[in-house]
Symmetry: C2
Subunit: 459 residues, 2 copies
Amino acid sequence: MSYFDAASAAPLHPVARQALLAALDDGWADPSRLYREGRKARMLLDAAREAAAEAVGCRADELTFTPSGTRAVHTGMAGALAGRRRVGRHLIVSAVEHSSVLHSAEVFEAEGGQVTQVPVERTGAVEVASYASALRPDTALACLQSANHEVGTVQPVAAVAEACRAAGVPLLVDAAQSLGWGRVEGDWSLLTASAHKWGGPSGVGLLVVRKGVRFAAQGAVDERESGRAPGFENLPAIVAAAASLRAVRAEAEQEAVRLRELTARIRARVPESVPDVEVVGDAERRLPGIVTFSCLYVDGETLLHELDREGFSVSSGSSCTSSTLTPSHVLKAMGVLSEGNVRVSLPAGTAEGDVERFLEVLPRVVAGVREKLGAPVPTAAVPQAEEVVVDSLGKRCPIPVIELAKVIGTVPVGGRVRVLSDDEAARLDIPAWCEMRGQEYEGEEKAERGTAYLVRRVS
Amino acid sequence: MSYFDAASAAPLHPVARQALLAALDDGWADPSRLYREGRKARMLLDAAREAAAEAVGCRADELTFTPSGTRAVHTGMAGALAGRRRVGRHLIVSAVEHSSVLHSAEVFEAEGGQVTQVPVERTGAVEVASYASALRPDTALACLQSANHEVGTVQPVAAVAEACRAAGVPLLVDAAQSLGWGRVEGDWSLLTASAHKWGGPSGVGLLVVRKGVRFAAQGAVDERESGRAPGFENLPAIVAAAASLRAVRAEAEQEAVRLRELTARIRARVPESVPDVEVVGDAERRLPGIVTFSCLYVDGETLLHELDREGFSVSSGSSCTSSTLTPSHVLKAMGVLSEGNVRVSLPAGTAEGDVERFLEVLPRVVAGVREKLGAPVPTAAVPQAEEVVVDSLGKRCPIPVIELAKVIGTVPVGGRVRVLSDDEAARLDIPAWCEMRGQEYEGEEKAERGTAYLVRRVS
């Protein structure tokens, strides 16, 4: 078994397990009580807060433990937006934030707020100038992840924080994917993270609110966690989270070098061994352990299933692996191919041999899926008509692209293929196919049913 | 060490510990993923939900795991109130609910809702007729705890549920204190509970919403837990919570009999061995493990401290042990003495010998605290004036009552003592003292500073 989905949840670090066990004995009582069991619990909680704050680079009284990274984001955004309600009702997020940020933005919009989504480049990174230009006098809050969870691209947080600081706008950084690797640089105002992403237990998130940032906790609260995270503290897990963050950080520098080399290997060798693949995300400014690529003419769910049979656990941003039937919003915002998408995210300690075995197995697995789906093989087709219509209505990713690829040779250079599709993934994948194949994407038109995507053959 | 504060947090049940350890190995991955680690996690989550639902007496798809009992209450109340917004904006709670219910009610009121607090009898129970009379055509939700967390009194939930059902109003039952002992009877609509109250781990609450109950989750949500509890599931703790609920239930019947006898012993013997004590809460309709009493002329914080030194961990609803400087809202609503308040809540498995030792130690500890505070000793004082004024301004509980007791003998029968006090606890404790001492409480008046409490000597 090779578990390559650390970006979803990292396996529990041995130190986390150890600390959790110890804290089960000493940290089950209510830390707000005055008797000895309560005092013991309070000491553990205080020590965990100190340790986590040190790792984050903040004061202990700026750090709150929440029940998850998602809850940290929800609480942090709602509190910061409410705290600056008088300044205005404008929120900035990047287009590739984690769903918890985008869900909070939706709620804010539904309540009358205005949201600007800053687009990203094809690498997945925001441009600093583009982000800065979204800042307005009525901007209450800006959000930017430290690094992207699907493609690993590192965001220019320090520069964006500087622009926000100059405009007097607090910046919330979702550091879920990067905090185990190191502190977030720059002069940010709020920060969120999630313990199970760095090898800590589930059930613990971090919310940091710098002194001086206006913050008004929303909904019902109580006296716990400075009135920012109501409910009995999940103390054994908090202790384990703090201890493992420390442990992970001690190993981070060395492990980052090692994983970076392994993911670089995947970045380089997959396109060599698998035809029609697009490796996505920034090749340089990226997290050590994440590499993402998409395979033309492949159905993501089948691919994941076949890789699972071979002993590899990976995830995918393809539409066919999600319940919403839309491709990942991250791949969409980047404008890259979503079909046959695979995210490999290596946990700390991944053995080189496992990566080598993955590189060995992948070409065969992809070829097998393509064969099943009837993916096109290059043939010298004779051009037959100036315009061909492909009716892919009712067919799901990757079929529309496969059918497009099969007919492109039947129109002469200069001729056109019109693909009719009602699959949301086609909007992303047909232009991406054109870019990969050197054909011209002319745009889309509303059709009687679904959408017509127009492709001109240029080679 | 005798830990007698199970109503705050019960020590971890051995089965919870065992299940938690096992689930750390098999339940750390994301249960929404398709690969084997994800499928394993999903199976554990599904099995835990089935087990918890069986214990509650509901369908598995009606039960959501939340990060705590407090969050279950916040989410449940907000969702139910929003789901019936069109019916009206009226909420009913009892006066003795857990703070999480009252905090949610405050938020609802701040947003324009109307809240009716149903008073309780001196036992701590609501009267069914009184609760039913609070129901209105615009009532969106009614809340009633299954049993009180401070005094152990069991509420008439089944009868109140019937009245609510007849009025078409959903009833939310906070079952935090009772779920380990058995299912909540009656036709309730929503139910909340907290695992660490029954010996499960911290970090897990239950929210049950019966099919057909209108419910609109508030704030940002995601695809987890039916859209009712966002954020990565705290799976090992959930597994441990469900397993321990089952285990605790298997032992409940027998253990209830045993603990009920031990608390009955405390109820009977404390008033015999400690002078000037009021045992509060219903003597019959009560939880097996909780017994609460208040000691005149005693400062709760010192008493707790001294009991801790003797090896007993208990809690108190006295004003002097809380950060708000007001006595417990439960004791206040019951109209009973709050000074020198002690809640003993025995965890399952409490040894008889520990209770006996507590009964042995208590009289000496209380006497010691009273001596330090200069509590009054009965003397044959000679009446000096028809009215005596006691200036207790700036003095905190229990001093005003001690000073009242010291001078009552200096006025003749028919004479009056006027106690000036600015301590919030005096409002509760002076009438309670009169009731215990057979003196007449004539009421309060606004004084130049603080409040004047008027006591007529009748014996």
